[in-house]
């Protein structure tokens, strides 16, 4: 073993000397190559378009990355190692034991953000406004795009669920308009205080309770996008499909650009769960034609609801 290692190192040293300065320069230049994870992910289906284009431009000129982008997908190098299989099994077992709680580190970190939000909300008025602003700022930077949303605890009432139509729990976030208002106006701060118990129930996945809490706020805050959006999603999870559609349609009518795509997505899911395949397809096709974070899954959802399995629902 020692001889084997010594020989390898000796050959490496010899080659390094013989290849000389060009090798050092090559290493220096390739130190600026994209991270290996990006190179490996280039042939996958998940990279954002802009990143993919930049990578393709790089790989066109970089022979090493070009070779690696192929070699790294060799069967031998993509097999699950025993240690990895063991860790996946452990994560899965932990998730099963938790029974419905999100298992990922990302989900745990999201819960921390949620807790800090509520802690700050209960502080004096000035701290409340600053805290909410900070929370929203952080959430818009880091978790505006949902970070691996937790799996829905209440399964949708379909006989078989195409994965494209899986119901998830959207991240809690606030509309920029709400945030701006909360800085100074007493009424806006009151709005946030009123929202707190409903959002707390929603975050705890107690959807029936959340739906009731949001319903109590509809008349008091008729322009509160959060009331109608999270209220609608809560009803969707609680299988109150007609109520979910009503609230999401109202949320849509508020024309909050920051929530528009998300509202359309969940409205499509609500129509699907209610058995109105045509209306669901309409929402998904609209999203599919646009350019938003929901575009690709909306295209898949549109296909899924058009298939016999996807259109099979039980009320």
């Amino acid at each position: 073993m020692t001889n084997h290692q010594d020989q390898t190192e000796a050959w490496e040293r010899e080659l390094a000397v013989r290849l000389g300065t060009p090798l050092e320069q090559l290493r220096a230049q390739r130190a600026h190559c994209p991270p290996l994870e990006s190179v490996r992910a280039l042939s996958g289906d998940a990279l954002p378009e802009q990143m993919k284009t930049e990578l393709e431009q790089h790989i066109e000129q970089c022979a090493s990355c070009r070779v690696l982008s192929t070699d790294l997908h060799d069967e031998e190098l993509t097999a699950t190692s025993p240690a990895e299989a063991q860790r996946i099994r452990a994560r899965l077992s932990a998730g099963m034991e938790e029974g419905g709680k999100a298992s990922s580190a990302t989900a745990r970190s999201r819960q921390k953000v949620g807790r800090s939000f509520w802690t700050l909300l209960l502080r004096p008025a000035l701290v409340v406004a600053a805290g909410i602003l900070l929370f929203v700022w952080i959430s818009r930077l880091g978790t505006r795009a949902p970070a691996t949303p937790p799996i829905a605890q209440v399964p949708p009432p379909v006989a078989t669920i195409p994965a494209a139509l899986l119901l998830e729990m959207p991240e809690i976030r606030m509309s920029p308009a709400t945030v701006l208002l909360s800085r100074g106006e007493h009424s806006a701060q009151q709005y946030l205080k009123d929202l707190a118990p409903a959002l707390e129930a929603y975050r705890a996945a107690d959807y029936s309770k959340a739906a009731a809490q949001f319903a109590a706020l509809e008349a008091k805050h008729p322009k509160g996008i959060e009331v109608f959006f999270y209220g609608g999603v809560s009803r969707l999870h609680a299988k109150q499909h007609a109520g979910a559609i009503r609230l999401l349609v109202q949320a849509n009518a508020l024309r909050d650009a920051d929530f528009a795509d998300e509202v359309s997505w969940y409205l499509g899911l609500a129509h699907h769960r209610a058995g109105d395949t045509a209306a669901a397809r309409g929402q998904f096709e609209k999203l599919c034609a646009g350019k938003s974070e929901f575009s690709s899954r909306a295209c898949e959802a549109a296909k899924a609801v058009s298939s016999p399995a996807g259109s099979t629902v039980s009320r």
Partner: protein, 170 residues
């Protein structure tokens, strides 16, 4: 309907492979695969096994899209021009790289007959300057396997290198 354990064992390799292809990192792939199977477990009585592994693949893809979106937001991923060869082909960096490019081409041509694992180890060690431990972690193999692959690749390179090469460096 097959039981969950059977389906897990049956589909784990393909789902992991797909996750790795999408996110590029083994640790993140582990996490996403576990989440996908957990989603299957929680919805097990409503999923038709005939939909597998497609159902799991779609869940993994959605998680992977979320992952990259988060990476992009958090790191403001490297912008155009930050990666070595990007930008105008007559930039000083690229112009100065002509000698290295020749060496790189020779390296790759010389190991064209090697298995991907040997070639990947060689490029990661010689071009990316990664340690054996880092290579092992990146490729999901043991350090001993990396050493073995490197020895094979080095031997191959020594044979391909002209006798005169490097004499001027001494």
């Amino acid at each position: 309907m097959g039981d969950f354990e059977t389906l897990y064992s049956q589909h784990l390799p393909a789902v992991f492979r797909y996750a790795l292809k999408c996110v590029g990192r083994r640790d993140i792939a582990e996490e996403i695969v576990a989440e996908a199977f957990l989603a299957l477990y929680r919805n097990f009585d409503r999923i038709d096994p005939a939909q597998l592994p497609g159902w799991l693949i779609t869940v993994v893809k959605n998680r992977a899209v979320d992952y990259w979106r988060r990476v992009q937001l958090e790191q403001r991923n490297p912008a155009a021009g930050q990666w070595g060869d990007q930008g105008a082909s007559d930039s000083p960096t690229v112009r100065a790289a002509a000698g290295e490019r020749e060496l790189e081409r020779w390296l790759i041509e010389s190991c064209a007959n090697l298995k991907p694992v040997h070639r990947a180890c060689l490029l990661l060690r010689f071009v990316r300057d990664m340690t054996r431990e880092e290579i092992a972690r990146e490729l999901g193999i043991t350090e001993n396997q990396v050493k073995g692959a490197l020895q094979f690749a080095f031997e191959n390179l020594r044979k391909a290198l002209p006798e005169s090469a490097g004499r001027e460096n001494k």
